[in-house]
């Protein structure tokens, strides 16, 4: 088992074919989910009649800017944690030096990268925020009431690449080669889970905000933020 996990074959498999599989599932699955949702909406017919670009963008704008909505201002700490979590979760892997080096190695493409220390701090932020989310789900009674087992799994899927990435970067606790393999695997699992779990809010956030914004703006003539 140890030999297998540390083997170069596993590493090559995970950073080669499995990356393609993960991206195909992620992009294909996401496209399928978005298209099928839009088709369903079209079939129902009613929603399209009041969809408005203006109100859609107004809603999205107010929900992607920290403290731009009433709900966010009511829960400032949660807002802070959420924004830190989401921004670090997206920015860190995209602008990480090691990921860029792999792209450089494969396709000779590379862009500006974060300083390793900054990336390390951002990784820790994601891990810390995940712990806060976990505790929130366990402690807060109203959140606990709407929590199912899958929420813990999803939280784990989101946090695991960062946790293993942190361990791999610092080469601590476990054999570096194992944490690297696990890191790549968890990253791929996260990508593949996006279209088929509640992580799909990455795709549907924009659509649900557009719908809600349009309904509140065009139908109810009120604000949804």
């Amino acid at each position: 088992m140890y030999d297998f996990l540390t083997s170069i074959e596993l590493y090559y498999f995970l950073k080669g074919p499995m990356v393609w599989v993960a991206f195909i599932v992620f992009i294909g699955g996401s496209s399928y989910r978005v298209v099928s949702l839009l088709r369903g909406v079209k079939k129902s017919g009613a929603i399209y009649s009041y969809m408005s670009l203006k109100y859609s963008l107004r809603s999205i704008f107010h929900w992607i800017i920290p403290f731009a909505s009433t709900n966010m201002r009511k829960r400032p700490w949660l807002t802070l944690v959420t924004f830190l979590f989401h921004s670090c979760l997206i920015i860190t892997p995209v602008f990480l030096l090691a990921h860029n080096m792999l792209m450089q190695e494969a396709w000779h493409i590379r862009w500006r990268t974060l300083h390793e220390g900054t990336a390390d701090a951002m990784t820790l932020t994601v891990i810390a925020c995940s712990i806060i989310f976990l505790l929130r789900r366990l402690i807060s009674p109203d959140v606990r009431f709407v929590t199912s087992f899958s929420d813990f799994v999803i939280l784990f899927i989101a946090a695991a690449p960062f946790l293993t990435g942190f361990l791999a970067f610092h080469q601590m606790l476990f054999d570096y080669r194992i944490t690297t393999a696990l890191h790549i695997l968890f990253g791929e699992i996260m990508l593949m889970a996006i279209p088929f779990t509640r992580l799909s809010h990455m795709l549907f956030f924009w659509l649900t905000r557009a719908y809600t914004g349009s309904e509140f703006g065009a139908v109810r003539h009120s604000r949804d933020y």
């Binding site: 140890y2 170069i8 190695e105 929590t147 813990f152 080469q171 080669r177 690297t180």
Partner: protein, 546 residues
């Protein structure tokens, strides 16, 4: 809910237990034992300053062995002259951080991948395979290679054998800063051969003439480390390629950490550059008489020419004139020879020698040479400044035969201070014989201790020969050091201190046994306490009575 949480926690526990916390040790990179012999640290701190990832501990020996057939060119670029550049692999033109980073990754990982595809599957390709966290702070230092006179002589003979004549230009060259055409600046001129260190030791501050060259060398990054590797290894490789007998190219064959001592180099032939054997050093307009200097003798007693000739192999007076000038870093010729803090001058070097355990007994208390005050004794100056061209008298042994046993007793009993201890029996002649033996054993000491009186002055530091010559006027310590403290001469120790300071410090400096009280003077047998008169009590009793 709790059950599910338990499941998660137990799953995590299983994962933790499944993979033992071994921590990647970076096998094959860890410097251990003799395996470290061919390893290098790749960090390029001159470009990256503080690298984001841990430095790479690179096994050069392993790679050199793997590419034995292909040769150094697999990694190292060539100069236009066809010599390998060893300080940075792959490309001579690569200078920016990004270029270096990309090139290392591309070349190293690229090559490793190729080999992995073939047979060897254990080659590093992951970030942490090379950038090992546990080796982040490790330093690998090779012992400096000392190209001593023996190596120099070996090279002179080997080149002569190969070329059929002397070929000093194979290594030696000079840089003509006045030549306009840069390609013609590096030239070899017979008779101007000097040490590589003069121009390529970039850490040292040099005088105006040499610094013009060192600046040019610094601009090109031609440090002693770089040029030594480039010059030596390329030459050796050339002979290896030609199937000829050649010097080593492996790190540890040169960086052995073993160094020859001066005595081991004593019979080794010194480089010939038409240097004078016994020059007469005479400074124009100088107040002092000239010095006949045994250059050949000093050559044999130093490990490098640089020991004295710190910037050029020319005469000292070439840069150090009667008055200070920029050429001589404002050190005039008198100070150049007599500065006791300089390792290059006569007085400074001799001071170091005098600190030897055999010499320190007397010399530790003798003041340093002071040319302004003509100290410690005017007679000292004339030992060198004899004005005689026939040569410095070296190695004349001191004879004890002239000593009159009546005036120079075999044993001296120091009774004057007898009190709590018995009189001290001082083995006077034993000490004289030992000091004379020490002096006669060293050519340097024998050259300066010309007469027996010099040895005597080790202890009798203020007595003059004339006074000693007089009958019944022995040079007693008490002649100057009184038993009670002399309040008018605060720097003159009283007799008790003078004896103890002179004897004990000599024993300490020369590491001679017998530093305890009873070693010199036996303790008197104590009388019963009751019989002793207690003056204090007596007084108080008498006062009471009164």
């Amino acid at each position: 809910m709790k059950t599910r949480l338990l499941i998660i926690l137990s799953a995590m526990t299983v994962i933790v237990l499944l993979f033992p916390a071994s921590g990647y040790s970076g096998e094959g990179n860890k410097p251990s034992g003799n395996k470290m012999s061919e390893k290098l640290v790749i960090a390029h701190t001159e470009i990256f300053e503080k690298p984001e990832r841990p430095q790479v501990v690179f096994d050069h020996g392993l790679h050199a062995a793997a590419f034995k057939k292909e040769g150094c060119g697999e990694c190292h670029p060539l100069t236009p002259e066809g010599n390998y550049i060893f300080d940075f692999p792959f490309s001579a033109a690569t200078k920016t951080a990004k270029e270096i980073e990309d090139l290392y990754h591309e070349k190293c990982i690229g090559c490793h991948k190729k080999v992995i595809k073939g047979k060897n599957k254990a080659l590093p390709v992951r970030c942490g395979d090379c950038h090992v966290r546990s080796l982040e702070a490790s330093t690998i230092k090779y012992p400096v290679f000392e190209f001593d006179f023996a190596y120099h002589d070996k090279h002179v003979r080997a080149l002569k054998e190969k070329k059929g004549k002397d070929d000093c230009g194979a290594c030696h060259h000079t840089y003509d800063t006045l030549e306009e055409d840069e390609s013609l600046r590096l030239i070899y001129e017979q008779g101007t051969e000097e040490s590589c260190y003069y121009c390529h030791d970039l850490k040292k501050k040099r005088g105006p003439e040499l610094s013009a060259i060192t600046q040019a060398a610094a601009k090109k990054g031609l440090s002693i480390r770089k040029v030594s590797h480039q010059q030596c290894i390329n030459c050796h490789l050339g002979y290896i390629k030609a199937g000829d007998k050649a010097g080593p190219v492996e790190c540890m064959k040169c960086h052995t950490g073993k160094y020859r001592t001066i005595s081991e180099l004593l019979n080794v032939h010194r480089p010939e550059r038409e240097q004078p054997k016994k020059p007469f050093i005479s400074i124009e307009d100088g107040k002092m008489k000239g010095v006949s200097f045994d250059h050949a003798f000093h050559e044999k007693n130093t490990k490098t020419c640089r020991s004295c000739h710190h910037e050029t192999l020319q005469a000292c007076k070439k840069c150090h004139g009667m008055v200070g000038s920029t050429e001589g870093k404002w050190i005039n010729v008198a100070n150049a020879y007599h500065d006791t803090s300089s390792g290059s001058g006569c007085a400074g070097c001799h001071k170091k020698s005098k600190a030897d355990i055999k010499c320190a007994g007397c010399h530790h208390h003798l003041p340093d040479m002071d040319i302004q005050a003509k100290g410690p004794k005017k007679e000292t100056c004339t030992v060198c400044h004899s004005g005689k061209k026939e040569g410095f008298i070296t190695g004349k042994r001191i004879s004890l035969a002239s000593l009159d046993p009546k005036k120079v007793p075999e044993e001296v009993t120091v009774k004057i201070l007898e009190k709590q201890y018995q009189a001290s029996k001082f083995p006077h002649m034993k000490i004289i014989r030992k000091l004379a033996e020490v002096s006669n054993d060293s050519k340097m000491a024998a050259s300066f201790h010309r007469t027996m009186q010099t040895i005597c002055r080790g202890c009798h530091h203020q007595s003059t020969a004339e006074a000693e010559a007089k009958d019944n006027k022995p040079p007693y310590c008490r002649n100057c050091h009184s038993i009670v403290f002399d309040t008018k001469n605060l720097n003159r120790p009283r007799l008790l201190a003078a004896y103890h300071r002179r004897c004990l410090t000599c024993h300490e400096k020369m590491d001679i046994k017998g530093k305890g009280c009873a070693d010199c003077h036996k303790e008197k047998v104590p009388q019963p306490k009751d019989l002793l008169t207690d003056t204090y009590n007596m007084r108080t009793i008498s006062q009471r009575g009164a």
